[in-house]
Amino acid sequence: MNSARVKTFYYLMKLGREFELAAKEQYMQGNIAGFLHLDIGQEACSVGTMQAFDKGDVFTHYREHVLAIARGMDPKLIMAELFGKATGVSKGKGGSMHLFDPKLDFYGGDAIVAGHLPIATGCAYARKIEGEMAGVFAIFGDGATNAGAFFESLNIAAAWKLPIIFFCENNYYAIGTRIGWVSPFEELYHKARHYMPSKRIDGMNVCEVYRAVMEAKEHIENGLGPYFIEAETYRYEGHSMSDNGKYRSEEEMEIFKSRDPIETLKKEALSRGIVEPEYFDETDKKVAKEIEEAVEFAANSPEPDLSELYEDVYCKECTNVVP
């Protein structure tokens, strides 16, 4: 890994982590409400994937702030969305779970588990027949791999050799249900093995995530059909702010925290002398400032106007004909 890349990884993961910590604080102060799902602990997946998959379309679920940041969405616009402000990326209408920006080929922010997988698959079909082999990236949790929509998507993507990467963040829990209680095995790449190349990687290691997605990208771009990656990871927080996550043991938490993606990268980079030590302090300061600005931007932004209620239900032309 070259120095510039490692620096970018560190910067984005740190930015993601600090964003989430700030969101948590703002939630507790009452500035953010509803369901807030934090990505803390899983930054290597969000950042490594988006750094590798830098073209193409992205479909994700509700735990998507850091993925959006890594895709290039401005943290200010995300924080404003969490605050429900008019300046938010979804105009304050979607909130934490529904970040969309077609300009970044970033299509949500879907809060129906596995609901985005058939959609991503359809998008991959369209890209294929248009000859756009950059293809599609679909990310989801372990829990989603038990849904019918998941299996249907694997089958269709494989049957039609679609350019799509299925990326499963296996953090072992779907809310309070351990994957092993409701799946015959916990190594979820087995579920895709018969359909497509499928591998399990260390999702706490951003370099490994990056390399795996680069490999997958080459595969789909060459017209070889879909690719499946299972990344082992862990969320340090509860499922959402309304869950304390106490169904998990301290020991398990400690094991994963000792593999913390940000610390791991920093240690590696320092011990191998890839990045000069000053970089980290400087970056931490820069990140702190950026997050502060994002919160300030969100706090100072206006609420949406009441007239927004009926805006965006239909397109402009249709609004005139549909009451």
Partner: protein, 325 residues
Amino acid sequence: MLYREALNRAIDESMAADRSVVILGEDVGRYGGSYRVSEGLFAKYGPKRVIDTPIAELSIVGNAIGMAIAGLRPIAEIMTVNFSLLAMDQIVNHAAKFRYMSGGKMTIPLTIRMPGGVSRQLAAQHSESYETMYSAVPGLIVLAASNATYAYHALKAAIFLNDPVVFLEHELLYPMDMKFKQIENFDPFKAEVVKEGEDLTILTYLKMRYDVLEAVPQIEKELGISVEVIDLNSLRPLDMKTITDSIKKTKRVVLVEEDHKTGGYGAEVIARISEALFYELDAPPLRIAGEDVPIPYNRKLELASIPTPDKIVSQILQWSRANGI
């Protein structure tokens, strides 16, 4: 008693009374249910009867139908009504129709519990009311529990009915502490006259009951009238008798619901009233309902999208002025 405790007690007592009662759903077991309705049941009845399922709503309901055919009395929990759409095929094409399609030979004793409604800033994919959809399906029974007493008695009744029941709850009610009364020979299909009055009947159900009750004193004061409030409780079948008795007395009717106005459940109720009681009415019926928009995240917009006590008051005052009441 907390609303969720009433539900818990109904399930607990049913499971204790009859070994064929089982519950299944996402996080219902070890976790105790995402709204804590099944708390304690896993420890008490074990994993065979308190079943943690994968995130697979179609299978939750489909499996429950199969269990019902095999002689169990399953209670399927769908975490939020929105996710019940993934099970819609099993509910509508299968559970609702097996009895009829088999010429009466099949029996599906199944209860499908699901919370819905607008909670607090959960946004468009977690804030729906689907009573209108389920109430439109012959073969389903649809109950809507607004309070602990009804929740407890009606859920118990539902579990032991021999037809599929869609049992609707509201997310904001779970932590509410409510009066509870044990009732003999409870009829889950009967509407409740929550408050008696002479001049205006307000029909409502689920969480809107509380918004209506909050609005009523001001309506009574401003208009100098007395208002009767009826909680429908059972949406399919609908208790037309209680509604009719009330309207014959008051001559005026308003229906308050949280769902979108277009095609909302209230449309059906008002249509029936118009058919049967047109000449009893002294004023055109009024519907106060949610706006025809997906529910927005922003709190101000969210509140603008559903009825609130203030809006109930102002819309009724406006309506009464327009109709000379």
